[in-house]
Symmetry: C2
Amino acid sequence: MAEDRLSLVFGALADPIRRAILIRLTEGEATVAELAAPFDVSQPAISKHLRVLEHAGLVSRSRRATARLSRLEAEPLREVTTWLARYQRFWDESHERLDELLAALQARQDDDARHGHG
Amino acid sequence: MAEDRLSLVFGALADPIRRAILIRLTEGEATVAELAAPFDVSQPAISKHLRVLEHAGLVSRSRRATARLSRLEAEPLREVTTWLARYQRFWDESHERLDELLAALQARQDDDARHGHG
């Protein structure tokens, strides 16, 4: 698996439980037990997901008394949003190019028809 | 690996070569050889990346004469952008909540100081 930051963040987002954990953390810090509650998965499985999120920089963890709390770090999401926004622009441009291409092909077809080419 | 559409798209984006392939395809259709050219990887490796992109709905493939062409399908990118945009809103809200929490804690601290609590 690629280890650059964007790849780590996209990879961390490539799981519905990890995305649900991030959304839960927008409401505030939570323990592993709290994060596991809505899902039919074990706390060790949630801990594994948290390590993936932590490795991608999307979650930080701290200890408060006996509880280990997870906290959202949203900055990496800005980075992937920025990447996608730039990409969206390219995509819009490629659609314009497609329209130009179709117009050019149509013009050539009309031209061929006038000059009797096959 | 999760097989829901969002997870497949995020997973497909979790690789720098696959992201570079998508950006190249914004310029138009391309053969495997053309897509492999800028990278120090084999054509079979590029083909494998293309299958991941195709499985996520980000690329479609067609045959023209002897060449197999890959083409960008950008609709799935809209879906992940929409998800992130919604998420961004949650994140902004959680920051506002944090500000409120800090203000509340500060008020309580001032109150405790006035009433001589520890």
